[in-house]
Amino acid sequence: MESLLSSGALVSLIWLLAGFPISGDLRTSTYRWQMSVQLAIGLVAVGLSSFTLFRAMSVDAQAFAAPGLAGTLLSFGTNRLSAVLLITVSFIGLIVVRYSHAYLAGEAAQGRFLSVLCQTLAGVTLFVCAGNVWLLLVAWFFINRSMQRLICFYPERRTIVLAARKKRFVSRCSEVALLVAAITLWKIAGTSDIAEINAVASSLPVETHDFGLWASSAVCLALAAVFMCAQFPTHSWLTEIADAPTPVSALLHAGVVNAGGILLLRFSDVMTNSGVAMFLLIVIGGVSALYGSLVMLTQRSVKVMLAYSTVAQMGFMLLQCGLGVFGSATLHIVAHSLYKAHAFLASGSIVDVARGNGLLGREATPRIGSVIFGFAVATTLFLGFTRVSGASFAQHPAIIGFGLVMCMGAMHLVVQSSRGASRVIAALRAAGASVLLGAIYFSLQAVCEEFFEAAVAPPAPLATASAFFFAIVLAMFALITSLQWALPWLQKRRFWQVFWVHTSNGFYINQISNQFLQLPPRERNGDITRTIG
């Protein structure tokens, strides 16, 4: 059996199996029975994914790289990276399927929805463990198609039709980019096997031509990733997906948009070879991270806010890829998936936060003392980190840079916590929390780097242009962080008022793209969304 199919491929098959057509509704015992079967199958998928990881850890990663029908179209590559991603996708998939059983109860098309949901999961798991570029391409097409079906669950809603049209356009772009990349890689590497392509790429001399075929395939991969990850300025479909049921958003944000990142991780050796592709990722990722996090601050509905947050997080992840820290990028993908799936599924709970006066956005400017204290804590953390890790800016600019981002976060935590009557105690507690935060952050980074050492390419030296642009992005991060403390002050400045208006509109990207892909106006006023019953 093992010679035929890897356990990763089995997970994909299992999810396909879980997508059996379900009939009836929650009241009937047949439905409940089918639901139990589906959840049990999902649980098996999670179990088998864990088993895959166990195997991948016990076997030498390189030797384990290509079981399945090696050399044919049905080859699978399972290593630590794909095993971890398999677990993540299957786990989130199981949660989302379970959630949808009660959540969509009463919808006429609930059975079909669950089938397509499971099929999408089959696509994503196939994508994660496909061994050659053709299978990868098939999985990529399949994910886009089934996601499209999920998004259009209410085809009578005009806003979703528009969003789906944009999404289709962006998906086609990513498919073309991936197709070109696949053909080029197959031609120049002489093999379609991903592990072999990576091996060939890593054996190349470091400074290859930036405009050669390797470089162009890397650029195509980068573009495919950028299109899939809803990066600026192709993100506008993502913010409009809120017109599909919540579980679709959860799956999309947690398991589908990051497929772009997974693609880069799987071709990390190809990517590190091309300075241009890496620079492209740094620019687009950096801009999207800045754009997403700024626009996110001004959004007033929870799902749209989360969508912009995804744009920013994916941008940050691509920035990590562009800087060659693929281990950190893997951690980011997994952690973000879990976080964002939860955030969407729990989005109704924001009212509980409001009922408990827990909403933000009306804070006074912090005292100068707490800013100084926060700065001191962050600096200490940073110095401690450089001392322990022995990293230096000259040798490991990316690691140092992301360490700085972490310290900005820690400083933000201290500054925002040190308010109220007992602010001294609060500041001390927050400082303690920051130290803990720093410890968790740095140990996770170290663990990931070691854990995925064999699965992804090692960090490559940074080109000057990349380092320069990264420095600019870091400076902007620092600026945005401190701007958030000065909000009450900004509110009264004309420049920032103007800036706020443009930012809250997402700099009009959605509207401009709507003008391009406009639909003919509907006959009657209002969206009629009665599909229940």
Binding site: A102, K303, V351, Q416, Q515, G526
Partner: protein, 844 residues
């Protein structure tokens, strides 16, 4: 999109002073849209509040002109009800008599008439946006809604955006102007002249309205309808603005915020008209608006199809009334009890009826009463360590006293220390939330703590935890959670808690209100109610509406504390209420999701009452089980699966969109002694208010019932009615698409569009069709008609409701044997006895 040069745009005659007729029309239009309460206290509102001064059928015509809303179910619905014999021919005949002027629609042909009339629909009045849509092939109405909604969600946001609107200190119109003068959307949308028009607009909202109206050349008699139409295009946000100005309106002032909203929407009309978006728009607009004539639109003879719907709806209601009336008349009157062991007082909420009936069934010696769940205490309840609280009283009232929450059983020093601790915990939590949700720091958060969400996902899915802790217990160490309760008397004697004379007044009103003057039981249980659900944006809509969408716990505990006070009791004697010494008032909370009843402050119960308490507990457990079994069918559960643990797990399920059915099914309101109804199975469909008119000397209690609980009940019933008949306009749509706006302001259905009002589809529909039967409320008052008439004469808004057909009114005589129907104009008819007998015969 055409971008015609402005020189070619036809100019209308310049400014003319608006005539008083127009100004009055503007004033009238300001109250047409009903308010909507935000999600942290989502109480029911009559969505037809602004049009209740008109008859139901005229209003139906008005809303179809204003927003193409329906006020009846679809013809197929009634045809099916006729086919199923849910509505019988005699109901139709009676309905034809009552509705009158039927142009030959007869009982036997009603079904055919309904089927024929299905296609006739009234189109809404044109707006400049809708004319532009036809002309320019661009969806201007949606663009306008989208843009206004974008502005409004930022302006009214209460804390979703970390970076809030810098203009929220300004009035709505000024804030909108400030934003629009910066916003570049007009360029993207191709409104070339936008900035010029905006620069000319007056800064004052009322002046801007006049400015725009002058340039839109609306025929005078259409102005009001047109403005109503405009408001309904952004109806959700207008409703929210109406909520914001509700408090001032209670005090009698004008709804100023609505003028602002109107000015914004009118400005958009002007932007489209003069902005150069379509060639020939001015001419097209003039042609379509001058073709409209309000009188002919509103007063034109009602079509046969509309008549048929009205008859069908009325007959549908008669069918239900006939069942109830025959039940009431057939019900044996229970003998006046000797002293009951327990008197359990529940909220009038329809969900109480099920449990009350079960409790009486379990225990012969338990008497139940119905009273508004805030127990007549108009309080603002301030949660622990907070500065402000929320009103725990019906939205018709303003809170008269502020009551703080406190941790009981603590010395002052300890409780101060605890308070500091809670405040610190909350501050740290806020800091943490800020760390989690801010730009840049959120990257660090995800990388450091994102993995922990695997545990959360698993725990929530296994129903072991909820995404956000119960707001009440924020920052409080768990061991103190059960000690939280209202502080009856201020520790330091400040005016915040309830003064002594006030307490006595409250006690007297309470006892008078529930007609409880004598024969007090040993234990009187004051039962508030609350729901429990997880991850439910509309959770507060399931809580006690009489307590402003909050839990009824605080009110019940406060009421019990007041009535247990020896001094208060002593003072009550002089007012004619003699409470025996062995009577103890016990506060309780009915969890409407699980039907469990929690008892409070039992350590204050005298030792002599311990055995009574044990008995009560056993009875409550049994009654809860009975009630759960009864509710199981509607919840899609097998009766044997409807256990307490199953209900709890349902309440803790973060994916559950129907934790309970709330007040779905509500149809009747009965104010009578319980002895008249206690043998009846009312299926959880009636509001039950205890009322004994023989104790009500000057009919003050009757007046109170008709002006407060009855109004609130009709609001609830009309909210369910409207959300069922037209969820697009009056409901908040599909819950699986809900996207909470502004922290707790309301929901969008999807990523944008107008703010949605009313109930989600899932609250009235189970997938097969409506679970809520859309019936206007039938009110049964066991009181003399002279007294009822006097109240109607005194209160015009109550009379509007009954005279205009927004609810049905009946009076009960002779312990339920004689029932008369209100026919309008203070006239009453006997409830046709023949038809009742008929229906009784059908039952046997």
């Amino acid at each position: 999109m055409s971008s015609e040069k402005s020189s070619q745009v036809i100019k209308f005659p310049g400014a003319r002073k608006n005539k008083p007729v127009v100004q009055q029309a503007v004033q009238r239009s300001l109250r047409r849209v009903a308010p909507v309460w935000p999600l942290d206290g989502f109480v029911a509102v009559n969505p037809f509040l602004g049009i209740a001064d008109e008859g139901f059928s005229v209003a139906a015509r008005r809303v179809s002109l204003a927003c193409e809303a329906r006020m009846y179910m679809t013809p197929e619905f009634y045809v099916s009800a006729l086919d199923r014999q849910r509505v019988k021919p005699e109901d139709v005949e009676e309905a034809i008599q009552i509705v009158g002027d039927c142009e030959g629609v007869s009982a036997e042909h009603l079904g055919a008439e309904l089927a024929n009339g299905a296609a006739t629909e009234v189109r809404a009045l044109p707006t400049v946006a809708s004319v532009a849509r036809e002309l320019a092939n661009t969806d201007w109405p949606s663009h306008v809604v989208e843009r206004i909604s974008h502005w409004a969600s930022g302006y009214f946001d209460v804390g979703q955006a970390v970076w809030p609107s810098p203009f929220r200190e300004l009035s709505p119109f000024r804030a909108w102007l400030a934003e629009m003068r910066i916003d570049c959307s007009d360029v993207v949308l191709g409104i070339n002249e936008a900035q010029k028009i905006l620069a000319e607009l007056p800064e004052d909202a009322a002046e801007a309205c006049e400015w725009c109206l002058n340039r839109l050349s609306i025929p005078e008699d259409v102005v009001e309808l047109y403005l109503h139409r405009l408001q309904m295009t952004i109806g959700g946000w207008v409703a929210y603005a109406r909520f914001k100005s509700w408090q001032q309106e209670l005090a009698g002032s004008e709804p100023e915020l609505i003028v602002d909203m109107l000015a914004i929407r009118l400005s958009w009309e002007l932007l489209i008209l003069r902005g150069g978006v379509a060639q020939g728009i001015e001419l097209a607009w003039r042609r379509s608006i001058t073709g409209c004539n309000a009188d002919s639109l509103l007063a034109q003879p009602v079509s046969r199809a509309e008549r048929a719907l009205e008859i069908a709806q009325t007959a549908y209601e008669f069918a239900w009334q006939r069942e109830l009336v025959s039940q009431l008349q057939a019900s044996p009157v229970s003998s006046p009890a000797t002293r009951p062991d327990v008197q359990a007082i529940f909220c009038i909420d329809v969900r109480s009826e099920v449990l009350r009936r079960a409790l009486e069934q379990v225990s012969e010696t338990t008497e139940t009463l119905g009273f508004a769940g805030f127990f007549g205490l108009p309080i603002e309840y301030i949660p622990l360590a907070d500065q402000q609280g929320s009103a725990h009283c019906p939205v018709l009232l303003t809170p008269a006293v502020r009551v703080r929450e406190t941790v009981h059983g603590q010395t002052e020093e300890l409780s101060n220390r605890l308070l500091r601790r809670v405040k610190l915990a909350r501050q740290l939590k806020r800091g943490w939330r800020s760390f989690k949700n801010s730009a840049v720091s959120s990257f660090t958060f995800v990388e450091s703590f994102g993995l922990t969400y695997a545990l959360k996902l698993a725990a929530h899915s296994l129903r072991l935890s909820r995404p956000e802790p119960n707001p009440r217990f924020r920052g409080l160490p768990p061991r103190f959670a059960s000690d939280l309760g209202p502080q009856v008397r201020a520790v330091d004697g400040t005016s915040e808690s309830v003064g002594f004379t006030r307490q006595v007044d409250f006690a007297e009103n309470m006892l008078a209100g529930m007609s409880l003057k004598s024969n007090f039981a040993r234990i009187v249980m004051l039962t508030g109610h609350a729901s429990s659900s997880t991850n439910n944006a509309h959770a507060s809509g399931l809580d006690c509406g009489a307590c402003g969408g909050q839990s009824g716990e605080a009110s019940a505990r406060l009421a019990a504390a007041i009535l247990n006070d020896q001094q208060v009791r002593a003072a009550l004697i002089s007012r004619g209420y003699c409470i025996p010494e062995d009577t103890f008032f016990l506060a309780a909370l009915h969890n409407t999701t699980t039907d469990a009843v929690e008892l409070f402050d039992i350590d204050e119960l005298p030792v002599t009452h311990r055995s009574d308490l044990q008995g009560l507990r056993a009875n409550l457990d049994q009654a809860g089980a009975l009630a759960r079994t009864e509710r199981s069918a509607a919840l899609m559960l097998d009766p044997e699966r409807a256990t307490l643990s199953e209900m709890l797990s349902r309440a803790n399920d973060w994916s559950q969109v129907r934790p309970e059915w709330g007040l779905a099914g509500c149809a009747g309101f009965v104010a009578a002694p319980r002895s008249m109804t206690c043998k009846l199975d009312l299926k959880g469909r009636c509001f039950l208010h205890s009322y004994d008119h023989t104790q009500d000397v000057e009919f003050r209690t009757l007046e109170l019932i008709m002006t407060a609980p009855m109004i609130v009940a009709s609001w609830i019933s009309l909210q369910y009615y409207a959300s069922t008949v037209d969820n697009r306009v009056y409901g908040s749509g599909n819950k699986v698409l809900h996207n909470v706006v502004g922290g707790s302001v309301g929901v969008f259905e999807g990523q944008g569009g107008d703010l949605r009002v009313g109930l989600p589809l899932q609250s009235v529909d189970n997938g097969d069709g409506p679970v809520h039967e859309p019936l206007r409320l039938s009110v049964f008052l066991a009181a003399p008609i002279t007294a009822i008439n006097r109240v109607l004469e005194k209160h015009q808004h109550v009379r509007d409701l009954v005279d205009n057909g927004w609810l049905h009114l009946f009076a009960i005589y002779d312990e339920g044997k004689v029932i008369v129907r209100y026919r309008g104009e203070l006239q009453w008819d006997a409830f046709s006895p023949a038809s009742v007998q008929n229906s009784q015969m059908h039952q046997h």
